[in-house]
Amino acid sequence: MSNRLTIAMPKGRIFEEAVELLRKAGYKLPPEFDESRKLIIEVEEEGLRFILAKPMDVATYVEHGVADVGIAGKDVLLEEERDVYELLDLKISACYLAVAGLPDSKMNDVAPRIATKYPNVAEAYFRSQGEQVEIIKLNGSIELAPLIGLSDRIVDIVSSGRTLKENGLVEYERIGEVTSRLIVNPVSYRIKDALIDELVTRLHEVVSVEVF
């Protein structure tokens, strides 16, 4: 039971980069790993079990302890505020959280409206700026909101800025940098300390080589 780790992986964009990182760290993951549509993948030889979750849900699985560790974007951690250890900056899937809107537009003075997938982040940010805003939670295609007059601004992650550009939006402020992080359940961190320390050390080596 305690000699095996369950890792929650985010499906989609971050997944491939995370798998590559694990391979570089010397974990032998089978080639069919990348194409599999299974939600749970056992890698017996390494004593690892992977669960594939929506990126927004990774921190939830880890907080509840059904996954010992997880790979989650900093954007998710800021939004969800789960009780997990954030042990390592994996420096993959770099992007940033930003406020954007139509060019040369002003926010409504009375009740500016902000459309976002990140209601907590957006609210905290505007409150820190001394602005009280109305948050409109959307689940995707956030760029649409200012275009059709639903909101004055959006708060979203920006990686290349292409989506904003193609939709005629401009960036107003940067809220914070986002990369993927290695997160750990507080109980697993103590009970499976040796396994987790090894994972952290191996990943840390790979990550520091990449940067310097």
Partner: protein, 390 residues
């Protein structure tokens, strides 16, 4: 206002149905039995307390308290934990003689949940407090008793991590100079954000040795050897005292013979802000949250006694989850009777009860679906119709 459904309960409140009740009862009894063996006396305190006294002394965040007003307009709280009420009782009633007092409790506490409606807002804690006794032996006793009672409850795999509130605080002050400048680091440590912690340390104007000392703190968890590692990065003063206390605690725990369950961890920082010295948490491998925690606190100061205490609390619901789903064996017997043999049935059931056998006595005319009803029992006896001559 929208209409409530008849079966709805307030958010986070739960019913305990027979099977769960029985399981809780067994776990509670096993723990309580051990606690009593160690000479701790159980007490009860009121469910409602004044907000100004217990509410304010408690370490539970204000927005997590259930508050209400009494007739005079005083703010009351549903007790969010048991440590503050016990400190109140002890300070006002039991500590007059200035002797150590060993108390225990098993009670429901109430905490309004912030997220994900439906997480329990009322749950049972069982725990002990040893008051007016400030030796490390007493901290060791709390930990040994915690281990002993968890074992008695049937838990096989678990771990207790011990730490010291004073160590990290003192390390920060030694290196950064003032308490104020340590705030950022404390916050990162408290939020478990080690990435932020490391980035912050690297951004500080410090010698590389001092940076290394701050980063080393994050690795201070493991066996007894961690204590001497901690000793290497701290200078004299209160920090050393924390290390000395933890070494002494380790020796006490070893003398109790329970060191196989214990690990040292200087990175534990509890949300319970009243802890002042040694603190600990208990984990079971299959539950994602700590099943219990405890430590030394000086809470009693708030109630006008200058003394410290140590104790622990275990969450019964978490412990049950850790114990897994063992099926209870149904041993209840049922005697069905009809009018003619009623007296005979009552005599039989009385005999069964005297033998300590769980037995239901049921008028057969009161059951519509006899097959379905009989399945609920381990065994059945029918005393119906005319008397059979022997």
């Amino acid at each position: 206002m929208s209409r409530l459904f008849m079966f709805e309960k307030p958010l986070g409140m739960r019913d305990t149905l027979p099977e769960l009740y029985e399981k809780k009862h067994r776990v509670r009894s096993a723990m309580a039995e051990t606690i009593k063996l160690w000479g701790y006396q159980f007490i009860e305190t009121p469910t409602l307390e004044y907000y100004e006294t217990v509410g304010a002394a408690s370490a539970i965040a204000d927005q997590q308290l259930f508050k209400l007003l009494d007739k005079e307009g005083h703010t009351l709280v549903l007790r969010p934990e048991m440590t503050a009420p016990i400190a109140r009782v002890a300070a006002t009633k039991l500590l007059e003689e200035n002797l150590p007092v060993r108390l225990a409790y098993s009670a429901n506490v109430f905490r309004a949940q912030q997220r994900e409606g439906g997480r329990p807002a009322e749950f049972e804690q069982i725990g002990v407090e040893c008051l007016n006794e400030d030796t490390v032996s007493c901290d060791g006793e709390a930990i040994a008793l915690l281990i002993s009672s968890l074992k008695k409850a049937g838990l096989q795999q678990f771990q207790v991590s011990i730490g010291h509130v004073g160590f990290a605080q003192e390390l920060f002050v030694q290196i950064l100079g003032t308490n104020g400048r340590a705030t950022a680091l404390r916050k990162f440590l408290y939020e478990k954000n080690y990435v932020g912690y490391r980035e912050h340390v690297n951004s500080l104007q410090l010698s590389s040795i001092d940076k290394q000392r701050l980063l080393q703190l994050l690795h201070l968890r493991g066996g007894e050897e961690v204590v001497s590692q901690a000793n290497d990065i701290i200078e004299n003063g209160k920090g050393k005292q924390a290390v000395t206390e933890l070494q002494e605690l380790w020796d006490v725990i070893r003398d109790y013979g329970v060191d196989e369950y214990v690990k040292v961890d200087f990175t534990i920082v509890s949300h319970m802000s009243y802890y002042s010295g040694i603190l600990f948490e208990a984990y079971a491998g299959n539950v994602g949250f700590p099943i219990g925690n405890g430590g030394r606190y000086s809470l009693i100061e708030k109630f006008g006694k200058n003394t410290s205490a140590t104790g622990f609390a275990v969450r019964i619901d978490m412990l049950l989850e850790a114990l897994g789903s063992s099926q209870l064996v149904n041993t209840t017997h049922c005697i069905f009777f009809s009018q003619e043999r009623r007296q005979e049935a009552f005599q039989l059931v009385q005999k069964m009860h005297e033998q300590g056998k769980q037995t239901v006595v049921q008028d057969i005319n009161g059951v519509k679906d006899l097959d379905a009803f009989s399945k609920k029992f381990a065994d059945t006896t029918y005393l119906i119709g005319g008397r059979i001559d022997e």
